[in-house]
């Protein structure tokens, strides 16, 4: 297996590629076409997501309103009510997908979601504490709109990640040790969350559980901007680091020999994953399953030896947008999007596993 990955990551002589400054990309038609298809799907789902709602707005009108050519009630519905939700959904999917691809690659483990760096557990403790401890005095939606929960979640996520990284440090960070430390820290934090949930009043526990599943129901433009800023900076940085990620997979000794500064690279990758995940979780809660499933789907669709970053991000956006569409339209009550992402993503991964029988047994 490792022999195959060496052969694929090394630049084959005569292979065509693109070079922009320090970034070189090999031309892989299958990855390219998968990415283009995913991008088109994101756009279509985005327009549909704005079009579908309690009142139907024709897609043509949606596009005109987005371009600023429309005025009146449709324009208001599109830009003020529905666009923030769709944008948040797409960005949450994008950031979680890229973060998941990063962590799965650097831990060399398909179960290595961003959760293992403690981000999700930390964010959950912060948010659930804000909901449970503040729940007696004011309503949850007020806290959400006031920025209380996103801030609490972000603080929790960053502290937890810093603790995991700090404790994992021992003359350098080694991914196996980091994973184990992450397990320990996450378990402790999750227990705190459980404790808060068990001791809370049942109505408050319901609200907290809703947040823990991941939901887009209370999004506004104020949840879009921080997420957009993080995505705009961190996603390009992640793409730039893609080549180094491939080298990092060869093991520390080889990577150092090839000229990669392993520790600096690792800190950079972890920081990117943490920031991306924290932004997504602050905006919509820990939307279930996206960071785990999307890189695995991307890997199988594109036929690469590690999750393709951009494709994973776009597939994440596809998954969350489709899930939100389904959540809003197919159920009598607004099902949290995190449930639907799992209900769509899990069977698809299972189907891919069954179909790729031959590829999997190597």
């Amino acid at each position: 297996m490792s022999a195959a990955s060496v052969r694929e990551t090394a630049v084959a002589p005569g292979r065509r590629g693109v070079r922009i400054g320090p970034v070189g990309l090999a031309w892989r038609p299958r990855v390219f076409w998968c990415t283009v298809t995913a991008l088109v799907t994101v756009l279509v789902l985005g327009v549909l997501g704005v079009a579908i709602g309690s009142t139907w707005i024709a897609p043509a009108t949606v596009v005109r309103a987005l371009l600023g050519l429309e005025s009146g009630p449709e324009s208001f519905i599109v830009t003020t009510l529905r666009l923030p939700r769709v944008l948040t959904g797409a960005l949450v999917g994008l950031t979680l997908g890229v973060a998941g691809a990063l962590t799965q690659t650097f831990t060399r483990n398909p179960l290595g979601t961003p959760d293992i760096i403690g981000v999700t557990s930390g964010a959950s403790v912060g948010a659930v504490a804000a909901i449970v401890l503040g729940g007696g005095t004011y309503s949850v939606s007020a806290v959400l709109l006031g920025g209380g929960i996103p801030v609490a979640a972000t603080i929790g996520a960053l502290i937890a990640a810093a603790v995991v990284y700090g404790l994992g440090w021992r003359g350098g960070v080694q991914s196996y040790r980091l994973v184990l430390v992450g397990i320990g820290v996450s378990a402790t934090l999750d227990a705190v969350t459980s404790y808060l949930l068990v001791r809370a009043k049942i109505t408050v526990a319901t609200a907290a559980s809703q947040w823990l599943v991941g939901s887009l129901s209370s999004t506004s433009w104020s949840s879009v901007w921080p997420l957009l800023a993080v995505a705009a900076v961190a996603v390009p940085l992640a793409l730039v680091t893609s080549a180094a990620l491939g080298i990092g997979q060869l093991g520390d000794e080889v990577a150092t020999g090839v000229g990669l500064h392993v520790q600096r690279h690792r800190l950079f990758v972890i920081a990117l994953a943490v920031v991306l995940t924290a932004a997504a979780v602050a905006a919509a809660g820990p939307v279930g399953f996206v960071a785990f499933v999307v890189p695995q789907i991307g890997l199988r669709l594109a036929g690469t030896n590690r999750p393709p970053l951009l494709l994973a991000g776009l597939l994440g956006a596809v998954l969350v947008l489709a899930a939100d569409l389904l959540a809003r339209s197919a159920f009598p009550w607004q099902v949290p999007v995190g449930i639907v992402t799992t209900v769509i993503g899990a069977p698809y991964l299972i189907w891919l596993l069954v179909r790729h029988r031959k590829e999997m047994t190597r």
């Binding site: 483990n109 179960l111 397990i183 459980s194 995190g338």
Partner: protein, 362 residues
């Protein structure tokens, strides 16, 4: 594929302990065996102390002679009631659950060759959880004596589904789809559980208490229901130890050594399911034990499964008992559930173990 299992450790550690038939090497080997025997003996002592503490301490304050009188059925009515109605069941269930989860975790990590695998990965916990929630939602069942049957049924059905997916996908040969299919099915079942729990507050109330894992309010009938599963699971696990050592070298090498890989997998998966199902049914999904105890065992006695198996059982049992006692003492009348205490105490301890320099990777 990105899962390039990290350097194969069994070889290295075996080489370290038994490098060859020279006299000095035999001496080294003998020291290693003596060390392992010492570890096992110390752990037996720790377990005995933990069991004694579990018998002696609780919200009803009874002196040592009172506990003994209650145990021998010569004490007062209260003493007998407390000892036989609460302390004995808790101690036995706690020890059985801890040992079963420790062994199940070891088998799980051995078969998936993944340090992030816990016994719940095959859908056992999520299947049991869904069944418990359905029991509350559809039939209104909340007593622990009845819940145990729902949990057992759900656990077995869910793991059969995971087996079918993996077998359809890869013929059980490769560890990667095993972990992925398990994670996908678990997430799917968890999403259905979330859906029900968020619609129905009574279900959430029952579920949030069940899901943290507790030994409280359980009588011996709970243990009687789970015991057959645990015993058969234990037999399968012991039968599986040699095969696991071979599988640790990689599927192809194990096949080359004459191991029947498919049979080994089926025996192992059956063992994991029965052990985890019995334990989860008795005490709820105590995830922490199965995830972390195997790492502790490998740090103590290396990777040979004939050693790690008993060590996992002992560490798991002692851990659960100690956590249960602490939970009884710190909470006063409203005791803290064992699952929460386990992670809050065990998390930092596990981090400390993971930070050791001589880390045994899987």
């Amino acid at each position: 594929m990105i899962l390039v299992p990290a350097p194969i450790p069994t070889l290295a550690s075996e080489r370290r302990t038994s490098p060859g038939p020279t006299t000095t090497a035999l001496g080294v080997h003998r020291t290693a065996v003596r060390r392992r025997v010492t570890v096992v003996l110390v752990l037996v002592l720790v377990l005995a102390l933990a069991a004694a503490a579990s018998m002696l301490f609780g919200s009803n304050r009874i002196a040592v002679d009172g506990v003994w009188a209650g145990l021998t059925r010569t004490g007062s009515g209260t003493e007998q009631a407390v000892v036989w109605g609460s302390r004995v069941p808790r101690t036995l269930i706690g020890a059985a659950v801890g040992a079963a989860l420790g062994i199940a975790g070891l088998l799980m990590q051995g078969h998936t060759r993944n340090p992030l695998a816990d016994p719940g990965l095959f859908g056992v916990s999520s299947g049991a959880g869904l069944a418990v929630v359905l029991g509350v939602y559809v039939f209104g069942v909340t007593s622990t004596g009845a819940t145990v049957w729902f949990a057992l049924a759900g656990a077995v059905v869910a793991s059969v589904v995971v087996f079918s997916v993996t077998i359809a996908g890869s013929g059980t040969a490769s560890p990667v789809p095993l972990a992925l299919a398990g994670a996908a099915v678990s997430a799917l079942l968890g999403a259905v559980t979330s859906f029900i729990v968020l619609t129905d507050q009574d279900s959430l109330d029952a579920y949030r208490l069940w899901v943290v894992g507790s030994l409280a309010a359980r009588q011996l009938d709970v243990l009687a229901a789970a015991l057959p599963f645990l015993l058969v699971g234990l037999v399968l696990a012991v039968w599986n130890t040699r095969a696991l050592d071979a599988l640790g070298l990689g599927t192809e090498l194990a096949q080359g050594l004459g191991e029947n890989v498919v049979r080994a997998r089926l025996v192992g998966l059956g063992g994991i399911t029965l052990l985890a199902a019995g334990a989860t049914a008795a005490a709820g999904p105590v995830g922490f034990v199965g995830l972390t105890v195997p790492h502790v065992a490998r740090a103590l006695v290396g990777t040979a499964h004939r050693w790690t198996l008993p060590v996992c059982a002992l560490v798991g049992a002692a851990l659960v008992l100690v956590a249960d006692v602490v939970g009884r003492l710190v909470g006063g009348f409203s005791e803290v559930e064992v699952g929460i205490v386990l992670a809050v105490i065990g998390g930092p301890v596990f981090v400390a173990v993971a930070r050791r320099r001589s880390l045994v990777s899987l």
